[in-house]
């Protein structure tokens, strides 16, 4: 099809432009931060202006929004969910719990740095971040997508060994398929 570099670049620009304006979000709302999702999505802040909408299942979603702490139990599910999502896919870590453990830093079953286990494209800090911050995070993600820099999925594929080793460190009993997308 297209193999010269210039036309590939043009296609990329158009593709990225289209992608950034249609972000289907799978909100993984286990942490307390999930309560900020409804106001972000509804009329007051209206994330749909930016093309951000909720998706029903992982296979239909582009963005995995992880709102807060993940226990080892939920981390398993998140890994399955992430691996079921189809390219292009992005991860947003939402709240300080995903960054450094937040106020759950000394909890016996929550992980402390999400980017050790999944490739995070954008972090939104705050405990919990307000809808303005969430929208800023989405705007940042759009910027990265347009620039072609939101390549977490590629990073994950290329460094699967590293991610898997980290995941298995905290999930001692691994009852999931090794590679499932």
């Amino acid at each position: 099809m297209i193999n010269d570099k210039v036309s590939q670049k043009i296609v990329d620009i158009i593709q990225n432009f289209a992608r950034k304006h249609s972000l289907w979000v799978l909100a993984y709302g286990t942490g307390c931060g999930a309560i900020e999702i409804p106001p972000t999505m509804t009329s007051r802040y209206d994330a749909e202006r930016l093309g951000v909408r909720g998706a029903a299942t992982p296979r239909q979603a582009d963005v995995l929004l992880i709102t807060g702490y993940l226990t080892t139990k939920t981390l398993k599910r998140v890994i399955r969910v992430y691996e079921q999502m189809q390219d292009p896919k992005y991860v947003i870590g939402f709240g300080s719990c995903t960054i450094n453990g937040g106020m759950y830093y000394d909890s016996y079953n929550t992980i402390k740095a999400l980017d050790r286990y999944l490739p995070v494209d954008v972090y939104i800090n705050g405990c919990m971040p307000r809808p303005e911050a969430v929208l800023e995070g989405f705007a940042k993600l759009q910027e990265l997508i347009q620039a072609g820099k939101a390549d977490g999925a590629r990073k994950y594929k290329e460094n699967l060994d590293w991610y898997r080793a980290n995941q298995k460190e905290v999930i001692p009993v691994w009852r999931m398929p090794e590679y499932n997308w």
Binding site: T72, N100, G101, Y105, D106, Y108, N166, P172
Partner: protein, 189 residues
């Protein structure tokens, strides 16, 4: 209400010689009783005195006394009085009677206590695992379980992110060149 409370205390202490009543204000009646008599007293309270509702079973770890304390919290809809029944269990051999034939929901509380404190309930029919999945450490709610040390050992920690934490004003100042008020300067590291 005070009359009814006195009545309850009188009836229970008459029937259960080992029950000790602890004084409390309000609509609360409070007993301490040896652990062997727990099913008997709960049966009695439920069937004879109308305490139909089991609100909660809670557990306290008395590490210094080498004991666990179990508290059964009951509520009567007709009298609008709550009854607390306390009992102590040995910490080295923590075994307790199962009471889920009295209230079915006790099953859930007992499973949780079994998982979080490691107290065995004789005759409890339920899978070992409750909330914690594939848990391999000691029961996490015991006071001699050091959660901080366990978390540091088990989960990778982003050290710098905590120790270099900046006052948010400092971050804003560096981004926007905004002048910091004097009082805020002493917080920025």
């Amino acid at each position: 209400m005070e009359e009814r409370k006195k009545e309850i205390i009188q009836t229970i202490t008459d029937h259960f010689k080992d029950a000790v009543s602890n004084p409390y204000d309000g609509n609360r009646v409070d007993f301490t009783i040896p652990k062997q008599q727990i099913p008997a007293i709960l049966f009695y309270l439920k069937d004879e005195m109308g305490f139909n509702h089991l609100s909660h079973i809670s557990c306290i770890d008395w590490l210094e006394d080498k004991q666990f304390e179990l508290v059964y919290i009951l509520w009567s809809y007709t009298d609008r009085v709550k009854v607390f029944v306390h009992t102590r269990v040995d910490r080295e051999q923590p075994v307790m009677d199962n009471i889920d034939m009295i209230w079915r929901q006790a099953n859930t509380y007992e499973r949780e206590i079994r998982e979080m404190y490691g107290i065995r309930f004789a005759g409890l029919e339920a899978p070992e695992e409750f909330l914690l999945e594939d848990w391999q450490g000691p029961p996490p709610m015991r006071r001699d379980f050091d959660t901080y040390a366990y978390a540091m050992k088990t989960f990778w920690d982003r050290q710098e992110a905590r120790s270099n934490a900046q006052d948010v004003r400092e971050t804003i100042r560096r981004r926007t060149g905004e002048e910091l008020p004097d009082f805020a300067k002493k917080y920025s590291r």
